[in-house]
């Protein structure tokens, strides 16, 4: 009997140890260029630049340690040291206890954990996270002293019920990066319509040039470009498409525009490297720089690779053409600083926000390091970005749109990323297009960023 008991205990222990393994997303990095990106944001927010304000927060008399959970993109890792140094200089009594994790795979699990035990004083995520966590009532409103130092365009999609819950620090641009020299040599103009784009693709194929560089092994890249397509073919016509989707008014199976967006993936798949499902981003970017492909639907996070591989690589950016020929460049608020509503150190948090929004040297250092666009008024990074002239042009024409309009309605985790997996399966021939659309419709309950 005791042997049986021992066997049972051992068996249970073994099963439990196996369970340990079942406990338990796209690197979204960034880059953009200084002056033009600032002007791009200004195009949406005529509020314009103002000199960055002086310190406004009262320094604590006693030493305070603030906990910080930072969900970082690959390009962000390292900025915590810069912030620590600047904070130590201005507010030596305040210490930040950092917990830096990858935004894609670890940030949300960490937040789930902290929701049970108490959230950190400061939470650093992406602009799209503000919608999710503000709906839980765990975030404090950011004082206008600090949000006033940020471009108005950056505040729009982190404002809920009239309150700003996130301090957007930088931004990314997304669209089609193109080899400027190759375009010039072949006499290709920037395409505005699908017909224009098809003509370039045909010419590429005729000349033995791969039209698009892509790395579909990273499923997130499929999800990313699909949202780019959705912004210009779906949300431009119906800014509430996501809400209508949940209300049952529209669906992927019935909406021709949404289906067109999925079909654009096929267009790219048919005109990219045959090894796209085996190709990593760095290798893909290298092929682009080496002239093996003419275009790449991507985001500012590719700039770092482009310039690392060849600092003289000349590239530009244009929005992926939509059906109506009026595509806008995609703008994505990236680093978003949120603060806990249950913190006991609000004054100290304000000191940190003060350093982040008033220290221009720190801001320039961070923007140059991450190669992203500034969201602080009056701050101009110094790193080179060949695509800046294009960004400036689209910004000046008001042809820039904030992707959080779509991301806030159709959440990334559990919806966009899962749809991307189905799109990949469809491209691989493992699913029919109809099944792929139906799968997106079936996960409608997981599409909302709000948890209430």
């Amino acid at each position: 009997m005791k042997k049986k008991l021992l066997s049972l205990m051992l068996g249970t222990t073994m099963a439990a140890s196996l369970l340990a393994g079942c406990g338990g997303t796209a690197a979204a990095p960034a880059a953009g260029n200084a002056a033009a990106e600032t002007s791009a944001a200004e195009a949406e927010a005529p509020a314009a630049e103002e000199p960055v304000a002086e310190a406004t927060a009262a320094a604590p008399d006693e030493a305070v340690t603030l906990t910080v959970l930072a969900g970082q993109s690959t390009t962000d890792a390292g900025i915590e040291d810069m912030i620590d140094a600047a904070l130590a200089e201005k507010y030596p009594n305040i210490t930040l206890e950092w917990e830096c994790v990858g935004w894609d795979g670890e940030f949300h699990p960490k937040m789930q954990q902290y929701l049970q035990t108490g959230v950190p004083d400061i939470i650093i995520g992406k602009g799209q996270d503000v919608a999710t966590y503000s709906s839980l009532g765990i975030l404090n409103e950011i004082d206008s002293t600090y949000t006033d130092r940020v471009l108005d365009a950056a505040n729009e999609n982190v404002t809920f019920d009239g309150k700003i819950y996130g301090l957007v620090y930088n931004a990314l641009y997304q669209g089609v990066y193109y080899n400027r020299e190759m375009f010039k040599e072949n006499g290709w103009d920037i395409p505005k319509t699908q017909e224009d784009l098809q003509a370039i693709i045909d010419d590429c194929n005729a000349k033995g040039i791969t039209p698009f560089a892509s790395h579909m092994v990273d499923t997130w890249s499929i999800g990313n470009v699909t949202m780019q397509f959705m912004m210009n073919d779906v949300f431009n016509k119906n800014p509430k498409w996501g809400d209508d989707f949940r209300a049952g008014k529209v669906s992927f199976s019935e909406d021709a525009d949404a289906q067109t967006c999925y079909q654009y993936n096929k267009l790219i798949y048919d005109n990219t490297f045959p090894e796209t499902f085996s190709l990593e981003q760095t290798d893909c970017d290298a092929k682009m720089v080496l002239g093996e492909a003419a275009m790449k639907v991507s985001g500012s996070w590719s700039i770092q690779n482009f310039l690392d591989i060849d600092e003289n690589f000349d590239f530009g950016i244009f929005p992926f053409p939509n059906q109506t020929g009026d595509s806008k460049l995609i703008f994505e608020p990236n680093i978003a600083i949120m603060t806990s509503s249950s913190t006991e150190h609000q004054d100290a948090i304000n000191c940190v926000l003060d350093v982040l929004t008033s220290d221009q040297d720190l801001a320039v250092e961070i923007y140059d390091y991450t190669k992203t666009a500034p969201m602080l008024k009056g701050v101009t990074p110094t790193y080179p970005n060949p695509s800046q002239q294009d960004i400036d042009k689209y910004a000046a024409d008001g042809m820039v749109v904030d992707v959080n309009l779509g991301n806030n309605q159709l959440v990334w985790g559990g919806f966009q990323d899962e749809n991307a997996a189905d799109i990949a399966a469809w491209l691989q021939g493992d699913e029919t297009f109809e099944d792929c659309l139906a799968a997106s419709d079936a996960r409608v309950d997981a599409s909302s960023s709000s948890t209430n």
Partner: protein, 296 residues
């Protein structure tokens, strides 16, 4: 008198066994059994893992699992991956062990070379083979003018073989050592007696080596099966579960659903169903282990 003394000895031994197992059992109970019970509780809700409310939905999550094609596909991949690993690793590890036990030169060098991959983290192994298939091996086509498809991770039809190669490359050396230890513990007299009786090499392998290796085989089968059912880290760093969903294991799918997808209740139902399967596997294996002990 003897019976009474033996019974006392047995009781003492059993007490010792119990005390030896007890600390581990307590730790696992606190760290794993209780969370498993909580997971079952969550599996009866539609909790998203974030909000305070945990709406009770009864067994609806379990009903939904039966119709979840992605979950069933994940099981399909996991089972094929497990079967493939169990067969290939056992056969190869045993053959390598027999070869090394045959007295070949440089035995220690080969043993070390075979063993090194298992010292590497599975995450790194995933990266290594991703690079092998996409960068290193295709170079051979360039050098030798061949046209072999090395992009095994790039297609849903070849991703399973690609992962089996990567996983077996990592673990065969480990299991080979266990077989080697088993082989070296077999008394040489048995082989000599068999030779005298006229038994050939195959007959000696079948009638002496395999039966004497029974405990090693059990250990290897159990280890490989459970390791394969748990596969997660290898996938995360190599295929990410793709292309599409072609290499999504049950645990990867559960993680994606519960954590990234914010369907904690539904993900918990997946976990519980997995635990039930694992418990069945564990019970069968324990039973098998005991029966072998009886045979010997």
């Amino acid at each position: 008198m003897n019976r009474k003394r033996k019974s006392g000895m047995e009781r003492k031994m059993e007490r010792q066994y119990f005390l030896i197992v007890l600390p581990g059992f307590v730790i696992f109970t606190i760290g794993l059994i209780i969370p498993t019970i909580l997971a079952f509780r969550y599996s009866l809700t539609s909790w998203d893992g974030l909000s305070a409310e945990k709406p009770f939905v009864g067994f609806q999550n379990y009903v939904n699992l039966l119709h979840d094609s992605n979950f069933l596909q994940a099981w399909g991949f996991t089972i094929l991956f497990t079967i493939g690993n169990t067969v290939i690793q056992n056969v190869c590890a045993l053959l390598f062990a027999v070869a090394l036990d045959s007295g070949i030169r440089l035995q220690k060098v080969y043993r070390t070379i075979f063993f090194i991959p298992c010292l590497i983290s599975s995450v790194i192994v995933g990266f290594i083979w991703l690079k092998m298939y996409s960068n290193v091996l295709p170079e051979f086509n360039e050098i030798f003018g061949t046209n072999i498809n090395f992009l095994l991770f790039g297609s849903s039809s070849t991703v399973l073989p690609g992962l089996l190669i990567a996983n077996n490359w990592q673990w065969i050396g480990y299991w080979m050592l266990i077989y080697l230890a088993g082989l070296q513990s077999i008394p040489a007299e048995l082989y000599e007696a068999a030779k005298v009786d006229g038994a050939g090499a195959f007959s000696r392998f079948k009638n002496i080596t395999l039966p004497m290796l029974a405990p090693s085989i059990t250990i290897c089968v159990v280890g490989i099966t459970t390791g394969s059912l748990k596969v997660y880290d290898l996938l995360v760093s190599s295929t990410g579960g793709g292309p599409g969903r072609a290499s999504t294991s049950v645990i990867l799918h559960t993680y994606n659903t519960a954590i990234s997808g914010r369907q904690y209740g539904y993900g918990s139902a997946m976990s519980v169903s997995l635990v039930i399967v694992l418990l069945l596997v564990a019970l069968i294996q324990v039973k098998s282990l005991r029966s072998r002990e009886v045979q010997q």
